[in-house]
Amino acid sequence: MFSYSPLIVLFPLLGFLFLGLAGWRLRSEKLIGIIGSGSVGLSFLVAIMIFVHMLGLPVDQRKQSVELFTWISTFTGTPSSISVSVAYQLDQLSILMTLIVTGVGFLIHVYSIGYMRGDKGFWRFFTYMNLFIFAMLNLVLADNFLLMFLGWEGVGLCSYLLIGFWYDRKFDTGGYEPGKATTSDAAKKAFIVNRIGDFGFLLAMLLIFIHFGSLSFDAVFGRAAVLTPGSSIMVWITLLLFLGATGKSAQIPLFVWLPDAMAGPTPVSALIHAATMVTAGVYMVARCSVLYALAPAAMQIVAVIGALTAIIAATIGLVQNDIKKVLAYSTISQLGYMFLGMGVAAFAAGIFHVLTHAFFKALLFLGSGAVIHALHDEQNIQKMGGLRKYLPTTYWTFVVGAIAIAGIPPFSGFFSKDEILWKTFSSDYGSIPLWFLGVFGAGLTAFYMFRLVSLTFEGEGRYGHDVHPHEAPRTMTIPLIILAFLSVVGGLVGIPESLLGGNAVEHWLGPVFDPAYEKLRLTPHGVEATEYVLMILSVGVAAAGIYGARVVYIRRTELAELWRRKYASLHKLLFNKYYVDEAYDKLVVSPTVKVSDGFLWKGIDVAVIDGAVNGSARLIAMVAQNIRRVQTGIAQQYATVFVGGILVILIWLMFK
């Protein structure tokens, strides 16, 4: 069964190749849509088959690698030998991620058939989307760092291509005068910010190779399992890996690209910038859990960055007016929770949150897409309202998503978020302040989500009279309903033992993280009574957030205006996202541009490098013209040169 796993990767690749080469000739959008979604659907089916097969196997046989071919192999037999295969590793973690990527990916592909209808780049869209799925599957299924990096860069490329999909549309992003920037600039921003993180990943990979002599997961983690914590190189490796993760998963300090990534079509935001790609950093940290276990200091940093990101992004989300930007900040914030989980050694809980978040965040984004679709590309929630009666399906599914993310039981978000918070509170690596930040963030989450729901769907419509909102077509609503269902029940696979559940996710993932848990010598403490109290507390906070939002934005709308005036400076600070973009522009972008322009370009590049390059080019061209003259076309001369060569060779052989 495992040998079928390359098929998972193959189908989206075929879809990409076919659509990329022949898509522009296909007149029928339906056909393109079927091919594009079908390829992902087939992958999903294969993944399910393998998953079911795994369920039937004893625990120690669930992990297997399938090697396709040797990719790079040099210096064999020497100490610096390197051998990297294109090989896929199936284990409890990678199959779970594969199911998320292909399952949620399939639904979003289907949704896109409706959403992208009539777009002149319809085939291009599905081409990129299939390429993305291919790259993402390489990322999660790779059995070595290099192949993972290939997928990592591949998803980055697709992210770039899809953010700038409508490359000529106006889009305001930091660092440009209003009205001057296009979505291409947002795409470039995402790409460049990610480069910084990728560089960290690359350095980490080199250090891993130097230190462990291999890049394959089995070899590296096997050798790491016998080390003891405390070496500084492990701290460097894990921190550099984490730098990569902060780029891809939009954490402090590299989170600035994600809100601008909303320039892409909404299904892209749902698939890439919510459900799958941005969780790649979390997956990578989880995959390297053994390495992190060897560097507790790095884990502390991960936890703190995660908690801070969760809070900061949530506060920004409170005041944004673009429906997709609110969701973007919410994504950053939820990713922060996942990293908090990683940092406090709650690896399984973090991955559990990846799973539930994929459901409810994809749902929320697709729901927002349906709203934007209904209002003809309006994204400002101040110009919405009252959509409940026109878009009933969208409304109800959106509310389900909002309840799930707010953390109200028994919806899925509650179980995963609470598991992280409980571990933050009780684990040896967690602490009360971190826990407090987490709970506070949860309250904020509930508040801004229901602010969004209230402003969009409740009250009176604030859009123009010429707009007649309509419910989305069925290709869009069916994925919404399925995702809503999953957002409700998705958490049931991880009901904690204290609530008489089996915590199936944790048990399933257990073998993957056991080496790390052993290294960390986790001691279970904290009593069930405390867990109940904290649970009730966090549900209370969430409920308060929801209630508060409904009061402020439905019943007493004047309160919002009042507070905005009263705390004008705080509002301005949050509205302008703590001026992070501006700070980066002043501190990093402008100086870089200035130095590049004045010194590196006009000084070094034009004068020194171009001078040298052009000079040597001229020299070579001159030599070439002269050598050319030797080629006279006269056979006798050729023979003379021939004889000259012979003489040189014979003399050399005689006297050397």
Partner: protein, 477 residues
Amino acid sequence: MIVIRLEDLLYSAPLLVLTSSGLLALIAEAAGRDKPVISYYTSLIGVITSLILTFLNLGAGVPVFNNMILQGGYAAYCNLIFLSSALLSIVLSRSYLERMQYHRGEFYVLIVFATAGMMLMAAALDLTIVFLGIELMSICLYVLAGFMRKKELANEAALKYFLLGAFATGFLLYGIALIYGTSGTTNLVVISRSFAQLSGNSLFLIGCGMLIVAFSFKIAAVPFHMWAPDVYEGAPTTVTAFMSTGAKAAAFATFVAVFVRVFDIPGTALSSVLALIAAASMIVGNVTAIAQNNVKRMLAYSSIAHTGYMLSGIAAGNAEGEQGILFYLVAYTFMNIGAFGIVSWVEQQEDRKLKFDDYAGFSARQPAVAVLMSVFMFSLAGIPPFAGFFGKYYVFLAAVKADMTWLAIIGVMTSLVSVYYYLRLVVLMYFCEGESDVAAKVPLAAISAVTLAAVLVILLGIYPSLLVDMTKGFFKI
């Protein structure tokens, strides 16, 4: 007593089938029907059958015919290159020759016999067979070079090639004689056993030097390369494609067979001479190519440069070098035959449309062909993920391992120079405007042949171990 065993014949089936198909085509021609198509299909069937038989024969190498030739293993691998080159050349030639009004049946016969000569060269376990193979191949090529016999340039090319080729043959024979005189045998297996003591003998070394001269002429290495640009330019373009791939591969196959698989050259003066020739070829080939305005001549100099890269592998003389060359030859065959295939198609009538400027704006007129041409150019320049990159990578790696880092550095530096003239074509195709008088339809057979070459160039660039694994067991006889 000399006996021919049944398995000798069975193992040599690819060679025998190919030769028979050539003879059949010849008889059909002689029968007087002026129908070149008969000859075309006969030789095509012969080449394809031989290719299939070679695939079946890929296992371990077996000496046959009283240790005169080797079949299977190394020889089979090389045969794949020659036969693919012959196959693509034949397919490309038909439409080309029809357009040039030189479509004659004997053309295909000559290609088939030249290929048979190449197969002998790679299979040789005896210096006399080396000689036999080289002559069989060369004489066919002399005729092919002058095939368009009413064309001045073609006549000049054929005559020059023949004169200088005869000159080189003299040295080859002289070298074989000296080696026979000092070692008492022409059998390569026997020589390999006593190479250590023979290499102290200066007459033996001179003999080896003569072999180097003769082989270097055939692979067009500096300073024995002077014929190449003139001949490549004057010969029919599809013949140039065949010469620069199949014939060059065959010469390399014997070069490797003698100097890597038989002789143990690392550390000897032979190795340093080869390194010198390699360096000179890389520098002269790449630098002179810059000054060319004719695409065929540019590709001729580029082929001299590639000779230099591959020679680094022989100079290194280690297992990596051999593997590197064997990979490189395949990569080079497909990218070069692809490039020449497109040139042969763009070329309209005699000596027209061969200038760089004729490619301006090509992408607008023929987008698909322009993409294919770009693939070949990028691959020739050695840019990943195309096969050309790994070819260079492997031979330079071999040079570094053999403590000839300087050679690898020259290789990389001159590769950098080469990017200029390869990408010049790409820039012209995509970024310059040109007259749009080419709208002719590309013949289906030709476009499939070129596309196949491009697919292989990409496939081998992504998945090089497909071939490298095959060549792992070949080192030394």
